[in-house]
């Protein structure tokens, strides 16, 4: 079974891109399964089932969403194999822009949208920097010049990624993307596999339910601000 991880900031258009791409993919690849990772609630399973795709949703709730992802992705693979999927696509939102569910040897996609501004690509960390494919959405809404600038900035953030424009509403560009999905390698287990980059470190009293503020409660992994005032033009 081929596995593809798709990540991207909230509302970038991940679900729409996946649905449009799966339409093409199912024509020549067969059965497709979806795993949707979310924090509090997700309604995307409705869109997926409407599109005729089999989907499970995982809600991380109180837990760091990407830690939750790593602890569950292999189980997702096993579920996919049991269901006899040819392709399994996982969708997750990198909420702090630092997280990246990208796994070595597994095709990794990052979805970003043009409307989020031309400086966004450099604000997104490993989620974009370590992706194999950067998908840009909502390009139809902005000018040609902005599309070109945005793509260039994405390229600056990750010169190794293939950059593609996909329109999540009309599906334009989804064929091109399905073609890249088809090149994903086969996976039977993620036991022993590695993430491409570390997930942000946590472990402090606030991780385990502390709500009091104050020096006495700052234990474990504490990092203090430097208070270096910004100078114009630097």
């Amino acid at each position: 079974m081929k596995l593809i991880t798709v990540a991207g900031p909230p509302s970038a258009g991940k679900t729409s891109v996946i649905i449009k791409t799966a339409e093409y993919l199912s024509k020549y690849k067969g059965k497709i399964g979806i795993v949707k990772f979310d924090c509090l609630s997700a309604l995307d399973h409705r869109l997926y089932t409407e599109a005729g795709l089999t989907v499970v949703t995982g809600l991380s709730g109180n837990l760091c969403p990407d830690h939750y992802f790593v602890s569950n992705i292999d189980d997702c693979v096993q579920w996919g194999l049991e269901k006899g999927f040819d392709v399994l696509i996982s969708e997750s939102a990198g909420l702090c822009n630092r997280c990246a569910p990208h796994i070595k040897g597994v095709t990794a996609v990052c979805v970003v949208d043009c409307l989020s501004g031309v400086d966004t690509p450099q604000k997104i960390g490993p989620m974009l920097r370590y992706a194999d494919i950067a998908v840009i959405t909502k390009g139809d809404i902005v000018s040609q010049a902005e599309r070109e600038v945005f793509a260039f900035r994405v390229r600056q953030a990750n010169p190794k990624a293939a950059v593609m424009f996909v329109n999540g509403i009309t599906g334009q560009g989804a064929y091109d993307l399905s073609f890249s999905f088809d090149e994903a390698s086969e996976v039977t287990s993620l036991e022993g596999a590695r993430l491409r980059f570390s997930i942000p470190a946590a472990i402090c009293p606030y991780c385990v339910g502390e709500t009091d503020i104050g020096v006495a409660h700052q234990k474990g992994n504490v990092k203090k601000m430097a208070f270096k005032e910004a100078v114009p033009n630097e």
């Binding site: 630092r98 990246a100 043009c114 409307l115 501004g117 031309v118 450099q122 960390g125 490993p126 920097r129 370590y130 139809d140 809404i141 902005v142 000018s143 040609q144 010049a145 902005e146 070109e148 600038v149 793509a151 260039f152 900035r153 390229r155 600056q156 953030a157 990750n158 010169p159 190794k160 293939a162 950059v163 593609m164 424009f165 009309t170 334009q172 560009g173 064929y175 091109d176 073609f179 890249s180 980059f197 570390s198 630097e234």
Partner: protein, 344 residues
């Protein structure tokens, strides 16, 4: 890969490749010593800062080299020439064959006409992705008479098509000058100052109302935005094919805009309901029910009619200008439009 670039001091590197600093600036790294090399700069970043930025030393080195390679490809790419674009018909919505083979060359204008929802945008989309019988229409697009390679189809750098779509919003918060400069720098243009001046001057020639270099993009009217984008596409974009979706009602000098694109040796495909634009090209494609139903050569009589329509259009434009100037439109309109004789 060109590893030696890592060992060239910034002073010399920036002389040869002015854009080399962009990569480091984009990740918040700067340098003061012109003798410093990229390798040394990368090495000087401590482990913790790297970790916080979500990067590694090794990744930064390979990304920098990759960036330099693509930047030079981008510069070469801007010289990319196209000799022809061929559209081979597929089928309409009922599966009826289109039986069409069209060849377009630089400087050609092809208009696409047909009712709303008939499939004009689909034809533009087929061209944009260089369809190979793999879109709903089953059309095939050839570049210079050949099937484009997968690489040519899907790599963004090789995109031959610039698209001027109906919705043209600017979401960046910049003035016209800074915006064009930003675009120019992402296209590796060396003389940014003059390029910006040329684009804005050209946009002002196309726009009904002039705007300043310092006008905020968000304050441009629909027509001014259109004019700026057309000027930008003609002078800055390297794409040899320009797809235009519905240009009318934009308050710009459409003839000048098209002349500009033609002069820049672009292949222009334009979906339109506007009779002046539709007759301006040598041929037009009529679409119905999702398929190409006819390819119509612009006839002699049509060309004569075009000049009549243009004369009318010029008159309408002059009325618009009078309105803008705060004048009254209280003269004999029938006479002004030349309708008077007919009425007699």
């Amino acid at each position: 890969m060109n590893n030696h670039l890592l060992k060239v001091p910034f002073g010399r590197l920036l002389q040869e490749h002015p854009y080399a600093g962009d990569y480091f600036r984009s990740i918040g790294l700067s340098w003061k010593d012109s003798l410093l090399t990229p390798a040394e700069l990368i090495e000087s970043v401590d482990e913790e800062t790297m970790e916080d930025a979500g990067l590694s030393h090794e990744q930064m080195r390979t990304h920098f080299l990759e960036f330099m390679e693509q930047a030079s490809a981008l510069m070469k790419g801007s010289r990319r020439r196209l000799n022809s674009l061929t559209v081979i018909g597929g089928t309409d919505k009922n599966g009826r064959a289109e039986n069409v083979e069209l060849e377009l060359r630089p400087g050609d204008i092809m208009c696409i006409v047909g009712p709303t929802g008939s499939g004009k945008s689909r034809l533009l989309a087929d061209i944009e992705c260089f369809a190979q019988k793999d879109t709903p229409t089953g059309r095939t697009i050839l570049i210079d008479g050949k099937t484009p390679s997968q690489e040519e189809r899907f790599r963004f750098e090789n995109k031959l098509v610039a698209q001027l779509s109906q919705n043209m919003n600017f979401v960046v918060d910049l003035n016209a000058e800074n915006f064009v400069a930003m675009h120019a720098s992402s296209r590796m243009v060396v003389d940014i100052e003059n390029t910006v001046a040329a684009v804005i001057e050209c946009a002002n020639e196309l726009a009904g109302e002039k705007f300043e270099r310092t006008t905020a993009l968000t304050q441009l009217s629909g027509g001014q935005s259109r004019a700026l984008m057309i000027a930008d596409t003609a002078l800055l974009s390297s794409s040899p094919i320009v797809l235009i979706d519905e240009i009318e009602n934009a308050g710009i000098d459409r003839k000048k805009a098209l002349d500009l694109l033609v002069k820049k040796e672009k292949i222009v495909l334009m979906s339109t309901h506007d009779p002046i634009l539709a007759l301006m090209g040598n041929r037009r494609i009529a679409i119905s029910n999702g398929g190409i139903s006819a390819v119509i050569e612009t006839g002699e009589k049509e060309k004569e009619n075009l000049s009549v329509l243009e004369a009318y259009d010029a008159k309408i434009l002059s009325i618009r200008n009078m309105l803008r100037a705060g004048k009254k439109i209280d003269f004999g309109m029938e006479e002004f439009l030349g309708l008077a004789e007919k009425a007699l």
